[in-house]
Amino acid sequence: MKARVLFFVGKGGVGKSTNSSLFALKLARNGKRVLLNSIDPAHNLHDIFQVTLGSKPKQIVPGLEAMETDLDQWVKKYLKDTERDFRSVYKYQEAFNLHKYFRTLKYSPGLEEYAVLLALVDTLRRFADRDYIVFDTPPTALTLKFLALPDVSLLWLSELSQFRQLILNKEQIITRIRQGRKNSARERDPILAKIADMVDRYRGMSDLLKDSSVTRTFLVLNPDELSLAESKLIWRELTNLGMKISFLIINKSKSEDAFHGRVAGQFPDVQLLVLPRMAGGELTGLKELDSVELPMDVEEV
């Protein structure tokens, strides 16, 4: 894949959307082709760029396209596809009202983060030719869940796969004893095949997230104790997952050197970037964003 993938993570309200917009804009101004995608269920990008945005990319400036993914749409599409498979396979499908059951499934725990992951994979596939794909992520809880999802799924799938293999091996033994040793050609178990298929998909996703030459993660925090505490939690969780945080952005900084020093001490191997608090307060609109200087060389992103 050609594109480099940027994630902006952090506590709610620290300025993930603003920073992702800022970096995306600066990269585009530097001649790169950038796609900025908000996968936060509560979108902010349209307020920052002051244009209406939807799930189709819209050009903001030459080189920069932005979109806001409709996660509900992804859940619905996923359930619809499953329902279609289900109807084509099950013989007694008409016996109970499947449609009603699937309508309530969209409130199942875990489906929201799966929808985020589906949207993520789809974006990476469709816009692989861009130089940069920038993701504005949901607040901590959902982000950590969807980033962990490929690994959690792999764990379950490996257990299920071993179990399935055990069943198939025993069935194979029965067939061999009954039919004699000669024909041991076994048909492929559709469930094992499906599991293998899922393992491939999640393995690819998990590897991509952990590859720090492709994926760059920006942790955004404010100069206050609460966001520092939550940032430490995010740091710990992502490190456990094997993901690396490349940049730490202290947003809305009031130039407290003591705080910067403390932050730097607690997050090793990270490039610390400081963005001062805006004089006017809000950072919305292209003019305002263009007037901000990035605290790093944009080529290094």
Binding site: S88, L149, S153, I174
Partner: protein
């Protein structure tokens, strides 16, 4: 009855004997496989009976392929209250 025909009858007799024996030999293993299929289905859809289950997206993607396993699970549920009969039928007549 000509001789080859008579021999053929004996051959068939031993062949049937072999089938009976191999069925007897695999009956227990077959029961084990059914039990494993039952546990596999339970593992996937355990959330319905309060067991920890895999993420919903995994179960939902496997659900369309699980018809046979779910049938096994439902059959097991039907006989679950009569464990003694189950054991007797597995072990066979005394």
């Amino acid at each position: 009855m000509s001789l080859p025909r008579w021999l053929e009858q004996i051959r068939l007799f031993f062949k049937d004997l072999q089938i009976i024996n191999s069925n007897k030999a695999t009956a227990l293993l077959e029961f084990e496989v059914l039990e494993l299929r039952n546990i596999f289905a339970l593992l996937l859809f355990g959330s319905f009976v309060g067991m920890p289950a895999p993420p919903v997206h995994i179960t939902l993607q496997l659900l369309p392929l699980m018809e046979k396993d779910i049938q096994v699970m439902l059959r097991r549920i039907n006989v679950a209250h009569d464990a003694l009969a189950e054991v007797v039928s597995t072990l066979g007549e005394p």
